[in-house]
């Protein structure tokens, strides 16, 4: 056994990170990425400034516990909509992944988009890949300090602006801007602006591809959505191998593949992998290698597409099936979910009601002929204007001869509820003793909106409860 064999092997997973300097490239997919960057970041930075009907169009007002999304106001009671929207979003992500691979990662994920933006700035300040590597290796001289300093300053400004915009989604951004201008920010707004700014700086400027490799849960399970018909970025080894460059290429020109081993695909990769090793979980499908390789292939006078968006089936010369059971299942599930979501959203009531029985007593005898049950009704006005209500009760198996009288305290009579107000309303329901034939019976309470400015009256919510009587 030689000395070399005894050398311990470093485990790759714990290798300390080498900074990746992705080389700039251009082409169809990079133009698409730039477009997506402009659309998404533009949307993010401008959205809070857009007003709709006199209010910030998109405002998640956490202090007031209201979400404004254009004309619609969501209360905490509407959390179900938010969770459904999230489930639908997750399903859409799975659907897109099954169809087209990790397009989310390459083109739309905030991590990728902000990293792209930060890399663009780096490139603008420090120059191209070779210059950046040289600068990285050079000792700290005036030039390095100047360039690094300028980069860090621009990054910091951008990160703080991002933090400010982010907080602007949760507190009205115009007020926030005033506070910033007059230097009177509260401690918590300051904390969140800096926290989110720092997170942006750290994620996009420093961590970059490490977030995708080590932190992202989606990267770990996305392969579960893949099948042989999913679009992937792939190198064609049949055409490319055996790869050769330089002297070897000239000598064996008849036996070599199309890959000229120029390393362009490796140099442009933002996660630092070699796509020629096959599909890897590190690949975020940004397609930079496709653009870089196509450019080289055209230069050397060969057909582009040595690296391309393709499917496993296509690579093997088989047919790609777009409509397959998995896809159809996703489409059906998604249409049902979106349909139900839309329907419930449109038929949303402007009141929320909860009926609780008074726990202190089952029933009370008002006089020899009358029985009384006590309830507490929680009414919330989810509408946009003040409301008053009318409460009635029916029950006892739908017997129309039974009369249930709802008694409301005088101080609650015709009580008007402002928009967003929550009221705990104690009520009594009286019934004739002769009608109460069983110990426990079901009743229904109808809460009807009787007056509401600017929207139709007559909205009604029905709640079930129990009515207790004496033992027979």
């Amino acid at each position: 056994m030689s000395q070399d064999d005894k050398q311990p092997l470093e485990i790759q997973l714990y290798e300390s990170r080498k900074k990746i300097h992705p080389r700039e490239t251009s082409g169809f997919f990079q133009r698409l990425r730039k477009l997506s960057l402009f659309a998404l970041l533009g949307g993010f930075y401008l959205m809070p400034w857009i007003n709709y009907a006199g209010r910030q169009a998109l405002l998640f007002d956490l202090p007031a516990r209201k979400f404004y999304i254009f004309g619609i106001t969501f209360w905490p009671q509407d959390f179900i909509f938010l969770s459904w929207a999230m489930i639908i979003a997750a399903f859409t992500l799975f659907f897109v992944t099954a169809l087209a691979g990790r397009v989310w990662c390459g083109f739309a994920c905030p991590q990728t988009v902000w990293t792209e933006l930060f890399v663009q700035i780096e490139q603008w300040v420090e120059g191209n890949r070779n210059k950046r590597i040289k600068l990285d290796k050079s000792p700290w001289n005036f030039n390095k300090i100047r360039r690094r300093g300028l980069k860090i300053v621009i990054w910091l400004i951008l990160a703080l602006w991002t933090g400010f915009t982010f907080v602007g989604f949760f507190t009205p951004i115009r007020e926030l801007a005033d506070l910033v201008m007059t230097w009177t920010l509260g401690p918590w707004e300051t904390f969140w602006i800096f926290f989110y700014g720092l997170a942006t700086y750290g994620n996009a400027g420093f961590l970059r591809e490490q977030v995708c490799l080590h932190m992202c849960p989606y990267a770990r399970f996305q392969s579960a959505m893949f099948d042989r018909d999913t679009l992937i970025v792939s190198y064609d080894p049949v055409r490319g191998e055996p790869r050769a460059a330089g002297k070897k290429r000239r000598e064996e020109i008849d036996n070599v593949g199309d890959c000229i081993e120029c390393q362009a695909c490796v140099q442009v990769c933002p996660t630092g992998i070699d796509i020629r090793d096959g599909l890897q979980y590190e690949c975020i499908a940004c397609a930079a290698c496709i653009d870089a390789c196509d450019e080289v292939m055209i230069k050397v006078g060969k057909e582009p597409g040595l690296i391309k968006y393709t499917t496993e089936n296509e690579m093997e010369g088989k047919k790609t099936h777009i409509m397959r059971p998995r896809i159809m299942l996703y489409i059906v599930a998604l249409s049902i979910m979106i349909g139900l979501f839309g329907y419930t959203l449109l038929s949303r009531k402007s009141i929320a009601v909860d009926v609780l029985r008074d726990r202190n007593s089952f029933f009370r005898m008002v006089d020899a002929k009358t029985i009384e049950n006590v309830y507490k009704i929680k009414i919330m006005n989810k509408g946009k204007s003040a409301q008053t209500y009318e409460i009635s009760a029916t029950g006892f198996g739908g017997d129309s001869n039974v009369e249930l009288r709802v008694v409301v305290d005088d101080k609650f009579k015709n009580r008007e509820l402002a928009a967003g107000e929550l009221l705990n309303l104690p009520i009594k329901i009286r019934a004739n003793r002769s009608d109460v034939k069983r110990r426990i019976q079901n009743i229904e309470l109808q809460i009807k909106v009787v007056s509401q400015e600017g929207s139709p009256n007559g909205e009604m919510v029905t709640e079930e409860s129990k009515y207790f009587g004496p033992k027979k």
Binding site: L13, Y14, L62
Partner: protein, 105 residues
């Protein structure tokens, strides 16, 4: 021979350090992520301003402070759980951890 041993010890030390830092990073990140979800689910149901009045310190808690404290609270406790899991998961260097595979030649 002794030189090789030293190298090996150095390497093992480096490796253990990396494993430790990686574990630490995973613990911090995962507890942060879950704390975000918990904060959302929790504060949908409870208004932080009312919670402040209900607590034993009867502090007047504004909404923003409430959410922030809630988030940090969840994060700290998730972190505790994760650190403890990490700590207990690692086998101590006793007989339990001894490898019983084939001996190197």
């Amino acid at each position: 021979m002794s030189e090789c041993n030293n190298q090996e010890i150095d390497f093992n030390k480096r490796q253990l350090k990396r494993i430790f830092y990686r574990r630490l990073a995973v613990v911090i990140w995962v507890s942060f992520f879950v704390a975000g979800l918990e904060t959302m689910a929790f504060f949908v149901m409870f208004d932080p301003e009312l919670l402040g009045q209900l607590s034993i310190w009867s502090v007047m808690l504004g909404a923003t402070e409430g959410y922030t404290f809630g988030f940090l609270f969840f994060w700290v406790f998730n972190l505790t759980t994760a650190v403890m899991v990490g700590l207990v998961m690692v086998l101590p260097r006793t007989k339990l951890a001894k490898r019983t595979g084939p001996k190197p030649e």
